[in-house]
């Protein structure tokens, strides 16, 4: 699958300030029966976003008017823990998120983000807290820029944070690489390896 490269992105923010958000919350199981990669956005955070009667829950962070049109999610530690379901990333991406900032991510979720061109960026807990405050104070006007080339997150009011990302993942995102195509360039090595084991 070829992806749009992620080099630099400026966008509105939404904050979901709680730790250990699991992929069952991001996309509940009743929506996992689709055989396509699409159609998951409307069910993102379903059980938090909607009340029992199907109406929007006005309390939920992403339902606040300020969060409308956000493309960057500021999240808590261990984001994306639990089930390996890639549907969680498909849902986040389809909803409109291009990047997620958090103090830490679960391993499988992090890999799934990279496979879908979503930048999962680790910042310190203090930096995330600072961003949550700035985002709330900005009332929907707050924008961040994520520069993956320079590995830096900035706003227009002096926030500046450097981050690191595994070089392989960064390269994949920057170039929108098809990982399978890339691995198949090593086809001869795979064949040699298989022969050596017989």
């Amino acid at each position: 699958m070829t992806l749009a490269p992620f080099v630099r992105h400026t966008g509105k923010c939404a904050a979901l300030s709680r730790a250990n958000v699991d992929t069952d919350q991001i996309i509940p199981k009743q929506f996992l029966k689709r055989v396509e990669r699409t159609g998951f956005g409307p069910a993102l955070f379903h059980d938090w976003r909607f009340r029992e009667d199907g109406s929007e829950n006005p309390e939920f962070e992403l339902n606040q008017p300020d969060a409308a049109g956000a493309t960057i999610l500021i999240a808590g530690a261990n984001f994306g823990c639990g089930s390996s379901r890639e549907h969680a990333v498909w849902a986040l991406a389809e909803y409109g998120f291009r990047a997620i900032l958090a103090p830490s991510f679960a391993d499988i979720f992090l890999a799934n983000c990279c496979q879908n061109g979503v930048a999962a960026v680790r910042l310190s807990g203090d930096q995330i807290d600072d961003l949550v405050r700035r985002s709330r104070a900005g009332h929907g006007a707050y924008r961040l820029t994520i520069d993956l080339e320079a590995q830096r997150v900035t706003d227009e009011a002096g926030f500046h944070a450097a981050f690191t990302m595994e070089p392989y993942r960064r390269e994949m995102l920057l170039r929108g690489l098809d990982e399978i195509g890339r691995t198949l360039l090593e086809e001869a090595r795979i064949t040699t390896f298989e022969r050596s084991r017989v």
């Binding site: 709680r18 069952d24 823990c81 639990g82 390996s84 399978i180 198949l184 795979i190």
Partner: protein
């Protein structure tokens, strides 16, 4: 002389096909397990790119996540689930992959049937689009859950691109007390290190309390490695492992057996091998565990109490505990023993093997499920179910008022009709107590099979150690 290596390092080193200049390795996959929920998009990707499955003979599929566990002679009443099952059947046919479908006597939860058939073997790299793939690490395999894009990658290349994880030794010293199970050991560990405690690491479980475990108990421990955040969990293979595997249909046959065991014996961490970190747990001090919150790290002894948010150190923790208690409808200071329940689930890739069912049956034998409680037993595979029926466990459960169902993931994740209703409280042998996991608004307490069976009979959470079991 080579430097001493851990079990994980040995398995890793033996599977590196190539190291990319940017760091990660191209790792060869011996066994790829496939199920209906995380594979359709991967097969579709292959189709669009005109690619084939590189090693269909190293790929095995089954249906487990969304299958009904009731009467299998009836057509599926969920058309979307039926479409997903059909998609896997079509994909398996088109790409030449072996499939254990609903009609197969070998159908079951992917992590139950892999070991049961002898497909899972020491020293392998095993992957599956499911986080509980860690289960197979009980054999000394490096087994990890992957996303659907990676499933497609493995189908196409038989390899996975992966940065080498760090290692963590979880050493369980001492001996378990009676009534304390493998489930309690792993829950106690998760309670200690937290749900992100092993992120980025492969856990190796060591120590006398681990060596003393049966294979099925080891699988329970490794299964929940992901609940500690780990990439995988591993236990070094030993005589227990070899005895379990010998004679299984897909394990090495008589002619190759001796050589296989000789190779497997090398799969021990060398004396002096360095782990990146270590945690020690005294198995003798572990009591039966029960979760009170909305992640598996929110766990305590059955003799314990619902905690008070004020007792937690950070504002984030206090907020998380408050949220969890509100969701679980629990008040701080309430004893966990005595908490009334309406539902009981004995099942899942964590605790639905024959020994689990025997343990639950031993408690249920000659007793009755409390009035107002709905209790179900969902064997991990159709073979486990058949074995249970040969032993008469089905009659024990049915006479006690439990439902005896067909194999599948069932109410562990509630993708099929087996779900909690809003507000129902459930004693469950599964692995996740996340909000809504077993059904929107459902409240899950994780525990061992014996504890869950005892809860079914009592109608409330109880300490199984206070019960006389096994007399009948």
């Amino acid at each position: 002389m080579t430097a001493p290596r851990t079990l994980f390092a040995k398995v890793w080193d033996a599977h590196v096909v190539h190291r990319f200049p940017e760091g990660p390795a191209l790792l060869y996959v011996d066994l790829h397990l496939v199920h209906e929920v995380t594979s359709p998009q991967a097969f579709e990707g292959l189709r669009r790119a005109g690619r084939r499955v590189r090693r269909p003979e190293q790929t095995v599929a089954t249906v487990d996540h969304n299958v009904p566990t009731g009467d299998r002679t009836l057509p599926l009443d969920d058309p979307i689930a039926a479409k997903q099952l059909d998609a896997l059947a079509q994909n398996a046919r088109a790409f030449g992959v072996e499939l254990f479908d609903l009609a197969s006597p070998q159908q079951g939860i992917v992590h139950v049937i892999g070991p049961e058939l002898g497909l899972t073997q020491p020293g392998m790299v095993v992957v599956c689009g499911d986080s509980h793939t860690a289960t197979h690490g009980a054999f000394g395999a490096f087994a990890l859950g992957i996303g659907t894009s990676e499933v497609e990658h493995v189908l196409a290349t038989q390899c996975l691109v992966l940065s080498k994880p760090r290692t963590m030794e979880a050493r369980f010293t001492g001996r378990r007390s009676p009534g304390v199970t493998a489930k309690d050991l792993i829950l106690a560990l998760i309670g200690r290190i937290g749900t992100a405690g092993a992120t980025g690491h492969v856990l190796e479980y060591t120590g006398e309390a681990i060596s003393a475990l049966s294979m099925e108990e080891r699988m329970t421990v490794c299964n929940m490695s992901i609940e500690a955040g780990a990439r995988a969990g591993m236990i070094a293979p030993d005589e227990t492992t070899f005895a379990y595997l010998e004679g299984r249909s897909r394990a090495p046959g008589h002619r190759d057996w001796g050589r296989a065991v000789m190779t497997w014996r090398q799969l021990q961490s060398d004396p002096g091998a360095a782990y990146d970190c270590r945690v020690d747990l005294d198995a003798a001090a572990v009591a039966p565990q029960v979760t009170w919150g909305t992640n598996p790290g929110m766990v305590t002894d059955i003799t314990g109490y619902v905690p008070n948010p004020d007792d937690f150190a950070t504002a984030d923790e206090r907020q998380a505990v408050e949220r969890a208690l509100a969701y679980m409808a629990l008040t701080p200071g309430t004893p966990l023993a005595g908490l009334p329940i309406e539902r009981v689930f004995v099942g899942s890739c964590t605790n639905a093997r024959i020994e689990d069912l025997r343990a639950a049956a031993q408690v249920a034998r000659g007793r009755k499920v409390a009035s107002g409680v709905r209790a179900m037993v969902v064997p991990g595979s159709q073979r486990v179910k058949a074995q249970g029926e040969r032993e008469g466990l089905d009659r024990v459960f049915l006479e006690a008022g439990f439902e005896w169902r067909n194999a599948g993931c069932s109410m562990c994740l509630g993708m099929n009709a087996d779900v909690l209703r809003r507000g129902e409280r459930c004693a469950s042998t599964s692995n996740r107590n996340f909000e809504g996991r077993q059904g929107a608004g459902g409240r899950t307490h994780l525990m061992s099979p014996a504890m869950a069976a005892a809860a079914a009979v009592a109608g409330r959470l109880v300490d199984v150690r206070e019960w006389e079991v096994g007399s009948a």
